[in-house]
Symmetry: C2
Subunit: 478 residues, 2 copies
């Protein structure tokens, strides 16, 4: 079986932790791992998994690869299908199926997993996957139907046809229904055979392709052409496909639910209870964290006085709550959110406003991820900017030059190999160097340990766009 991790949504209701360049899959809860990493772990630890495919945005590739690498002890082959922009789930699934057929043959089973869901009961998940595989082997596409806990109006539902079991655990699907109003949601709950649509599903490659052929012929043809004509990087045991934007834009922007599930007769549903949540809002995060005796959930340093039913999420500051109730407080280095728990959906509105204002907190965190590592802006003054730069083992920044700024570099941990004009020098912790304006320079970490460096930029103009790249090992140009 080949798990396919699909990374889509932005998580605008999880601002200020989720941002355009830092979407929901990278959200870390209390275990120190991101939602993505937990999805990856769940996937690769399933029996008989030797390869995994990820469909994601081109921009997130290196960061996802890094997150996988921390956990991929058995060096499972990780193929990436990189989208230039989002086209909803149907083109993503079709492309993954076509690529998997080409690489692994059409009899393999695909397990499609959104990158940003929470599943707290790993054992139940494994069992459910086992049940889904049995249905998939019979030519069905088995969806995972979560036994509903309450009349949620934020999820779609799947009606199981309980008169038509196809295995001892799965049923044919009667119909898929969209997010209901509260009245309908209650009806669904009471009926006993409606399940939450988790967005996870499982089927043979041949089944997917046959069903696309039947119900989304054009979509299959356009994704096929796009896949065939897009450039690929072939590494030792994995392939990186950069989907061509001019071809990918020809594919239909449509969800797999519309394109396939609402039409096919092959949909099955496997009712299960696996502690699933799609972590759609801060409220759902609060619901999924352990609580103290006053029903407060906290991550990070905090001190609460006479407060109850709150979620406090902080990264590097202490948060004090005094006589507060039913609030969600989220602290990040450059933005703070305080929201009434009953209205956590409205965080999306704040995010939209900030995006429209082009406010920096809608786009980027102070820590930005790059193929070679990260940089964190520590302070910006009128004539200077200070960054902490962390370079991964073996990584290298581009050979570059700035027209308007000079840079002072001080190594605080690890060893830097610095190209500065015609010189190449090695700097250890507590050593420094100076890169004058217009000097060609490069920073490399040739060791197997992280390199940490403080950069003080001086100049009249300090924008990130003042960079001329001469060489870049990650294929980045201007």
């Amino acid at each position: 079986m080949i798990p396919v991790i699909i990374s889509g949504g932005s998580g605008s209701r999880l601002w200020p932790v989720s941002r355009l360049a830092d979407p929901k899959p990278f959200l870390k809860l209390s275990d120190g791992h991101s939602l993505l990493q937990n999805t990856f772990s769940r996937a690769i630890n399933l029996p008989d998994v030797n390869a995994l495919i990820t469909v994601t945005n081109e921009k997130l590739h290196f960061r996802m690869q890094d997150e996988y690498q921390q956990l991929n002890d058995n060096k499972i082959a990780c193929d990436f299908i990189l989208e230039p922009f989002g086209r909803n789930t149907a083109p993503a699934v079709a492309t993954a199926a076509l690529f998997a057929k080409e690489k692994y043959g059409e009899d393999e089973i695909l397990l499609i997993l959104p990158a940003d869901h929470l599943i707290s009961d790993g054992e139940a998940f494994n069992e459910a996957v086992h049940g889904a595989i049995l249905a998939a082997r019979q030519g069905y596409i088995a969806t995972f139907g979560i036994k509903p806990e309450y009349a949620e109006t934020g999820y779609g539902y799947i009606e199981a046809n309980i008169d038509k079991p196809i295995t001892d655990k799965a049923y044919l699907v009667n119909r898929f229904v969209e997010k209901p109003n509260p009245e309908l949601a209650n009806k669904y709950i009471n009926s006993g055979h409606y399940l939450w649509n988790s967005g996870m599903f499982c089927g043979k490659i041949s089944t997917f392709i046959a069903e696309f052929e039947l119900y989304a012929k054009n979509l299959l043809a356009t994704t096929k052409e796009c896949l065939a004509k897009s450039p690929r990087d072939k590494l030792s045991n994995s392939t990186i496909i950069h989907l061509s934007s001019s071809l990918f834009i020809q594919t239909e922007n449509i969800s797999i639910d519309y394109a396939l599930f609402e039409k096919t007769y092959k949909a099955a549903v496997l009712p299960c209870s696996i502690g699933w949540s799609d972590i759609g809002s801060w409220l759902s995060i609060a619901q999924n964290l352990p609580k103290d005796k006053h029903n407060n959930a906290t991550i990070g340093e905090n001190i609460l006085h006479n407060s109850k039913n709150c979620l406090v999420y902080s990264t590097n500051r202490i948060v004090a709550g005094v006589d507060i109730e039913n609030l969600i407080i989220v602290d990040t280095p450059d933005a703070i959110l305080v929201v009434n728990k009953d209205y956590s959906q409205n965080v999306k509105l704040i995010f939209e406003r900030l995006k429209n204002m082009e406010h920096k907190t809608s786009e980027l965190h102070q820590t930005a991820h790059r193929p070679w590592g990260t940089y964190t802006v520590l302070e910006e003054g009128p004539l200077y900017k200070i960054k902490r730069i962390e370079v991964k083992p073996g990584a290298s920044l581009s050979l570059q030059m700035h027209h308007h700024r000079s840079e002072h570099w001080i190594v605080v941990d690890g060893v830097a190999t610095v190209t500065n004009g015609d010189n190449v020098l090695e700097l250890k912790s507590n050593q420094s160097t100076y890169i004058p304006i217009e000097s060609r320079h490069r920073l490399e970490n040739k060791t197997d340990k992280n390199l940490v460096l403080i950069e003080v930029q001086c100049g009249q103009y300090l924008g990130e766009d003042d960079i001329v790249r001469f060489e870049d090992k990650y294929g980045r140009t201007q």
Copy 2:
């Protein structure tokens, strides 16, 4: 007339903005000036004011001097009486009166002003002071009685003896009463002749001394001895007195209300409405700020959605509020407070807990004030610490040495004169130098503009106590 600014309380209910080393007088509201600066401006702009005395803690001296300097265009003589520790208001007033008698003679009038009150109606204040002076000239100590706006239980009250006017605006005091319970407070309000005790008062030096002689003879004697035997710095037109701790501790730790006002027959009260608040809590700050149409008061960048009756105070981050009500949110670089407006008194409990934990946010801000300027900790890692150091024109850090850390200095604005071992060099913006471990070094700003420098410390131990001082122009040793 000589205004006497007395700086006492810590402002623990105004945490996280007020801290042990950053007490309430330094709180800045929306006009960009601190409460202290506004008190100073009010004082020096009164008619016939040519000198001012400040009684404050030794540790706050340089910072207060800096704050005054920004506003002291007419170079009014500013004497400082520096206490080694707080002994409540009676010793402070007695010492100020004795010093003023010695310097200005006993016929001058003193106007005692707490450093951290808000007075929004400057014109009414000036008029009230005029009225107080008339009473003072007749040998009274005129207190400023604020016409109460509601039945406040957090203030002391003054009962005016309305049958005994002593001028056309002031009355003899019937009695001083302590903070009442709500029932009593209501009674006071309804009576019409109870006033809030603002803590401001005015009297001739000779009156103060005579009354101390009568009712607090021992206090007067001990403060007299302490004043006489404490070391003084005499500058061109001002004197700095460093009260000796071994003598100052002999003075009684008592308020002027207990020591004098509750006993004297010379107390007068001048009813007035001057927009006074003692800014005792975040609630009172909220009450004294302008509001938007949803009754929200804000300082700093913020975005509020469907929120009302809130105070949002932020320094350098955006704060988003979503569907919140009746909250106070205060953001500082290293601590955030969210408090129910009805319980803002309880912030004191948080402060006390943090103090007991010796939590850094109870003591210092990330920006620390020093006689020569400020430093701000931008980041601390396991092996490094980054500071922005700002040195005032003409100021100089001590000649010093560190056993455990080396320092990289990069000038980003201004010109630094750097002593490094046997060398002295001048560094301009974009120039840097390296101070090795155990090298004697000094940083000076010999220019008339601010110097801004980024310091990256490297070492195994980075505590502020790793400093050996050889010379210090501010008299600091270890």
